[in-house]
Each structure stands twice: as structure tokens, then as C-alpha cells.
């Protein structure tokens, strides 16, 4: 199963096995990864599962849809590599994905 590494804002890394077809957010919540709130439960309606995708994985993770861009307006410290983790679906190509979580989601 693809491995995903979550790095929290203090630099602590947690590597977790995710299922192909699940979202990065679901993988984080199921495994108790901190700093991902996912208040709306994955409906792309709250911007509280904001992550920064590691530069090396930016292309593989893809770019936000216009709906996701709209929701990112509600996040803080949005950067060019910002994504909502509920909108990144795990594929075999994302094995090794690294994302960093922001200090605050809401």
C-alpha cells in the first residue's frame, strides 16, 4: 500500500500506509494524524484539512479544482503548494507522498 508521510508544523514526521482510492484526509483521520481537523468530513466544504504538498510531489498530486481553490480561500497561509487533503485521492503513483500540515486549521 502507498506510504504517505505527514510532517507536522514542528517537524515531526509520521509515515502511514494509505489505501489506493482513499483520500489523504481519510488516511490521516483514521490514523489519528494531528493538525488535520476535517470539520465537514470530506465534502470540500470547510478548508480544515489544509496541507502543503512537498515540492517533489506537486506534479503527481495534481492541482486543485476550481471548487477546491474556492475553499482554499478559507484557509490561512495559503501557498502555491496548498491543497485540501480530502481532495487528494491516493494512487499507486503517490507511494512516498510527503505533506506538511499547517500550525492551525481554523
Amino acid at each position: 500500500m502507498p506510504k504517505i508521510t505527514f510532517i507536522d508544523h514542528l517537524g515531526t514526521a509520521r509515515t502511514i500506509e494509505g489505501e489506493v482510492g482513499a483520500t489523504v484526509m481519510e488516511t490521516a483521520v483514521k490514523n489519528g494524524v494531528p493538525e488535520i481537523d476535517a470539520e465537514c468530513g470530506g465534502a470540500c466544504a470547510c478548508a480544515t484539512c489544509h496541507v502543503y504538498v512537498d515540492e517533489a510531489w506537486a506534479a503527481a498530486a495534481g492541482t486543485p479544482s476550481s471548487m477546491e481553490e474556492d475553499m482554499l480561500d478559507f484557509a490561512y497561509d495559503v501557498r502555491p503548494n496548498s491543497r485540501l487533503s480530502c481532495q487528494i485521492r491516493i494512487t499507486p503513483e503517490l507511494d512516498g507522498l510527503v505533506v506538511t500540515t499547517p500550525e492551525r486549521q481554523a
Partner: protein, 351 residues
């Protein structure tokens, strides 16, 4: 009407706090038992999270509806409760709940932030994740400026007259207030993280026209800090995607970053709380305070699932106990809507 102006309280058998799906369906279950309800919600519309967070998104686990959107579910519930003529108090937040009665005959004085006062025999808290409140940006030191020079809502436009206002955001709230305050402000600057807006296209066009004629400013970037002593804002420190930093001089800031759910004043009502949830029994969904019930996502009990369908069940059972408080002398007979002529009469469908 019971409001601060007249000092009269609205007397009601049941007051429901929260007009989400669970609060709405509780109107139905109470109505079948001849109990009329008033509802209070902080949002200016009914539907709670269904209407605010995911109106267009499908829900797949409402019994009998293989697929229904959040808004369609709310619309259907409103139709379903129509025969029971509930009274809505929208855009108001319940601030205090104070007991005037006894355990056997409860009575609660409930006051909202708009000054509406209720005297309710029973209170059903169907507040979901709490009240929707404006999201506060994590700008260092912002607390010191709040309600002095940083505001999350415009209560009185006049408070912004002749001010240099920085409005942050790209949705309807940000654009509407930009357009409304621009004529009376000294200067309005709108800042958004990108040069695309979610707001209604005609508002965006109007804003761009004002920028083109030099009547206001549009800047692309994000606020990273605030400057000014003693809560008096002088400038916002900003950064754009290219990493360049700049300052915007302003003495008022209005950030519009959407809404988030906060437990809010519920914590001050003297109820038992467990991790921001209200413990209830699973027979009546009553709290440890007689006459106050909690249904839907806000309650906690062993095995609780935060599903809309669970909230519907909880409302039905709570209504039975509400009936005993409201009509202590009446015996309740269990009836089906399919076969009971008296229930059908109440629903306005008697043949």
C-alpha cells in the same frame, strides 16, 4: 412578540435551539403530540450544516432517500413540518438559559443576543457542532485589536465612516461590504489571496470598476501581521505568493474567512458537558437538568453515532418526555400516522 423593547417573554411549550435537520424534525414529532415549538438559529436561514456547509452535496444515508442533497433534505423537512406552524427566530444566538421552575414542572427563561426572551416549559438543544461563528485568522496578536479596530461583522455601518478600511476575502461578504462601505469610507482596500473571486459576478464587476476609476484599491496577498499600539490598528503587514512583503495603512480591518462551528455560550448554561458534548440518557435524551434535552450531533451517550438519522430518532423519543412535562395530566397513546385519524387531522390529511 417577546423582545427587549416590550420586555415581554414569549411563552412556549418547547423551544428548539438549532434549526438544522434534527431540530426541524423535532417540530414534527412534537407537533404530533400537540406541542408547538419556537426555533432559534444563529444562521439567517434554516438547515444548519446541511444548508451552510453542503447544500449541493449528496447525502446517501437518509432512510428512504437513496440520494438527496443537503438543501433538498431541508426543503422536504420544511414541507413536512408545515402543518405544525413553527415560529423561527433566525440570526439569533441563545445567550442564557435560566431555570424558573422545578424538576417536576420545569420552566426556563431563555434569552438571545437580539434580546428575544422566551419562557419555555422545555428546551431541546439541537445545536449540532455548536454555533456557526466567523473564522478568526491566526494572525499573531489579532486578539488585542478585536472589537477595537478588527471586526468580523458590520453591525453599524456608521462605525466605519471616514475610516481607512482593509477588507480581506473573496466571497460575497467581502465583496458586498466592500461595495457598501466604499461610499462612506475614507478609503477601502480589498485584499484577496488570488485575483479570482467566489462572489457574485456582478459584485466583482462593480468592484473592478471602482478600482479602475481609482475609487478603491485591490491588492493580492495575505495578511501576516498587524501594527498599531493599544488595539488601534495602523497598518496590516502582508505577503504575496511571490514572497514579497508590503504594508497596507488602515485603521479598520474586516476579515471574512467563512464560518466555523464553536460550542459558544452553551458552555455557560450550567449543563454537564463532556468534551464539548452534552451527555443524555438514551430513553428520553434528556440532560441531567430536567426539561432540557439534547438531540443530534451535540449530545453524547454510549454508542452515539453522529448521523442525521440518529438525531431523528432522538427527537422522537425526547418528544414523548416533553409531552409529560407539558401535559402532565394527559396519558399518551401510541399511534401511527398511517392509521390514526387524529394524527391525520393534525397533519391536515384527514379524508
Amino acid at each position: 412578540m417577546g423582545d427587549a423593547a416590550t420586555g415581554e417573554a414569549i411563552a412556549t411549550d418547547a423551544l428548539i435551539i438549532g434549526a438544522g435537520p434534527v431540530g426541524l424534525f423535532a417540530v414534527f414529532e412534537l407537533g404530533l403530540l400537540d406541542i408547538r415549538a419556537h426555533l432559534v438559529d444563529i444562521l439567517p436561514k434554516v438547515g444548519g450544516q446541511c444548508a451552510e456547509l453542503y447544500p449541493e452535496k449528496p447525502i446517501y444515508d437518509i432512510p428512504g432517500f437513496p440520494i438527496v442533497t443537503g438543501q433538498a433534505l431541508v426543503d422536504n423537512l420544511m414541507k413536512q413540518i408545515e402543518p405544525f406552524a413553527p415560529t423561527f427566530h433566525l440570526g439569533e444566538m441563545v445567550e442564557s438559559v435560566e431555570s424558573l421552575g422545578t424538576a417536576a414542572a420545569p420552566l426556563y427563561r431563555v434569552t438571545t443576543d437580539a434580546g428575544t426572551v422566551f419562557e419555555a416549559k422545555t428546551v431541546l438543544i439541537a445545536a449540532g457542532g455548536g454555533s456557526f461563528q466567523p473564522k478568526k485568522p491566526p494572525i499573531p496578536g489579532i486578539d488585542a485589536y478585536e472589537n477595537e479596530s478588527v471586526f468580523y461583522a458590520v453591525r453599524r455601518m456608521d462605525a466605519f465612516r471616514d475610516r481607512s478600511i482593509l477588507i480581506v476575502g473573496g466571497g460575497d461578504s467581502a465583496l458586498d461590504w466592500t461595495l457598501n462601505l466604499q461610499p462612506i469610507a475614507k478609503r477601502v482596500t480589498l485584499m484577496h489571496r488570488r485575483d479570482e473571486f467566489r462572489a457574485a459576478p456582478h459584485s466583482v464587476e462593480k468592484m473592478r470598476a471602482l478600482v479602475a476609476e481609482g475609487a478603491m484599491d485591490l491588492r493580492i496577498g495575505q495578511v501576516t501581521g498587524l501594527r498599531g499600539a493599544g488595539g488601534a490598528l495602523e497598518a496590516a503587514l502582508c505577503r504575496n505568493d511571490a514572497g514579497e512583503t508590503f504594508e497596507i495603512a488602515c485603521d479598520r480591518m474586516l476579515p471574512f474567512f467563512g464560518l466555523t462551528m464553536k460550542l459558544g455560550p452553551i458552555a455557560q448554561w450550567g449543563l454537564n458537558l463532556a468534551e464539548n458534548l452534552i451527555p443524555v440518557d438514551t430513553e428520553k435524551f434528556e440532560t441531567s437538568t430536567p426539561g432540557i434535552f439534547a438531540i443530534g450531533d451535540i449530545n453524547a451517550y454510549p454508542g452515539k453515532l453522529k448521523l442525521i438519522l440518529s438525531g431523528f430518532h432522538e427527537g422522537a423519543l425526547a418528544a414523548q418526555k416533553v409531552h409529560r412535562y407539558v401535559f402532565p395530566e394527559k396519558k399518551l397513546f401510541f399511534q401511527y400516522t398511517t392509521s390514526s385519524s387524529s394524527l391525520q387531522k393534525k397533519l391536515g390529511v384527514a379524508g
